[in-house]
Symmetry: C2
Subunit: 247 residues, 2 copies
C-alpha cells in the first residue's frame, strides 16, 4: 500500500475508470469536486491526473475538463512496455515461466562491446546468456553484460532466478531508469538454436541500458523475442513546445 496521497488518488481514479464508474468518452468530475472528495489540495489531485494522462487513461483540455479515453488492452500474448512485464503477464494468465542459463563468463569491455553497450573500454563484465521459456516454449533469448563491481558474487544459480530480485533485495540496489531501443533484426544461428522460430527469419530485439541510483549503468541487455509473441504498448502525449512524436 503506497502511502503518498497522490498515489492513492491515482489508484482510486484508475480503478474507477477501468471498472466503468466513469463512462468512457465523458468528463471526469472537475478538480474542485475531487478536491472535496479526497480532501486534499489542488496540486495533489493534479499530480494524480497527470499520471493518468501519461498512462493513456484520460486526456485533459483547458477550459473543458478531464476526458476518460480508456480502452481495455488486448490481453493476448506477452505484453511489455509501460503496462506490464514478462513475469507479471505470466502470473496473470497463469502461465508457467522458466529461465535457463546458457552461459555465464567474465570478460573485459573492448572497443566493440563498448560501442554496442555504452560501457567504457576496460570495464570488467559478466557476459550472461539466458533463455526465457513460457509454458515450455522458448520465447526470449537474452544476452546481458553486467558490471562485475556491482555484483561480484553473481553465480549461475542466481542468474537462473530473478536477477532483479537479487539485486534489489539481496544487494539493496535501487534500479531507477532504463533506456530501451526496439529494432527488428535477421535471425542468427544462436536464435535458431535456442528459440522456436518456425518460418520467421527475424526477431524483435529490445536493447536495454539499466541505471541504478548512483547514476551508473550496470546492465546492458539485448532481448531477442520470437515475433509471434512480441507486443509493446506505449502512450504518446503531445507536448506544448514540441511538434513531434507523431508521424
Amino acid at each position: 500500500m503506497p502511502r503518498e496521497k497522490f498515489t492513492q488518488i491515482y489508484a482510486t481514479l484508475k480503478e474507477r475508470i477501468e471498472s466503468g464508474v466513469y463512462p468512457v468518452g465523458q468528463l471526469l468530475p472537475s478538480e474542485n469536486t475531487l478536491i472535496g472528495e479526497f480532501s486534499c489540495s489542488r496540486n495533489t489531485v493534479r499530480r494524480a491526473i497527470s499520471e493518468l494522462v501519461r498512462d493513456g487513461y484520460v486526456q485533459t483540455s483547458q477550459g473543458k475538463g478531464v476526458c476518460n479515453i480508456f480502452q481495455p488492452i488486448e490481453r493476448s500474448s506477452y505484453t511489455m512496455g509501460t503496462i506490464e512485464s514478462f513475469r507479471e503477464t505470466a502470473r496473470r494468465t497463469g502461465q508457467h515461466t522458466a529461465t535457463r542459463v546458457v552461459s555465464l563468463e567474465r570478460c573485459v569491455a573492448g572497443v566493440n562491446i563498448s560501442l554496442q553497450t555504452g560501457f567504457p573500454v576496460g570495464t570488467e563484465l559478466f557476459s550472461l546468456s539466458r533463455v526465457h521459456e513460457m509454458d515450455g516454449k522458448p520465447i526470449i533469448l537474452n544476452h546481458s553484460y553486467l558490471r562485475v563491481d556491482c555484483m561480484p558474487d553473481l553465480t549461475e544459480e542466481i542468474a537462473q532466478g530473478s536477477l532483479y530480485r537479487y539485486l534489489e533485495e539481496e544487494l539493496g540496489m535501487v534500479i531507477v531508469t532504463s533506456k530501451r531501443t526496439i529494432t527488428v533484426e535477421p535471425v542468427t544461428g544462436a536464435d535458431r538454436k535456442w528459440l522456436d522460430l518456425g518460418e520467421y527469419n527475424c526477431v524483435a530485439v529490445v536493447s536495454n541500458q539499466v541505471y541504478n541510483s548512483q547514476g551508473v549503468m550496470f546492465e546492458y541487455t539485448q532481448s531477442r523475442h520470437v515475433p509471434s509473441i512480441f507486443r509493446f504498448q506505449d502512450n504518446a502525449v503531445r507536448r506544448a513546445g514540441a511538434r513531434n512524436s507523431l508521424v
Copy 2:
C-alpha cells in the same frame, strides 16, 4: 519560442547536458542553486527536472541530487518514439521524403474493423493507404481509418501532403494523445508489392490510435515498416508503487 518558464528552463538544461557543460555521470547543480540562476520558485525548477527525467537525460535520488545520465543517441536510420518523427529525421539528415497515395475509399466500420481499430460499429470512415518513401525507397506502408465526420472534405491531394498539418492548421483540430502498439508480423502480399523488403519475411508494425481534444479517436493507423530502418526509442522510469516495466 515557448513562453512557459519551466519549458525554457528545461530547454536550457537539456542544451547544457547535450553539449557537455554538465559532465556525464556527475550531479547537476542543486535545486536551490538553479532557483538562484533562473530566479524562479522551486516547483518550477522541479517541473523542468522531472521532464528531463522522463526523457532519460537525468536521474534524481533523494538526499543526493540530480545525476546526468545522458548518452547521445545513435543517429543512424529512422528513429521514432519519444524522440523524433519521420519527417523530422528526414529533415535533420537531409534526406528526401515523399508520400504516395495508394487508395482512398469510404467505408463503414463492421465488426472486424471495429475489433481491429476500436471504432464503434457503423462509424463512417475513410480507408486510406499510403506509402512513405525516403530517398526514393519505399520504407513504410500505412493503412489508416479516419472518421469522416472529423474531416468530411478529405481528398487524395490532401492525403498526399501532411495529414496532420491539414488537420491542425486547416481544420483547427488539436491532437492530444496517441496510443501505440508495436508488433512484428509476417509479410503480406501488399507488403511485398509496395515495400522493398529483400530477404525479410516480416515487418515491424506500429498500430496507432489517435485522439483529438474532444476525447474522440479520429484515426487508426497501422504502419508497416521495413525492418532494416525501423528503430524505436523509449525511456522507462521506475515508479514508486509499481514494481514493473522491467523484465
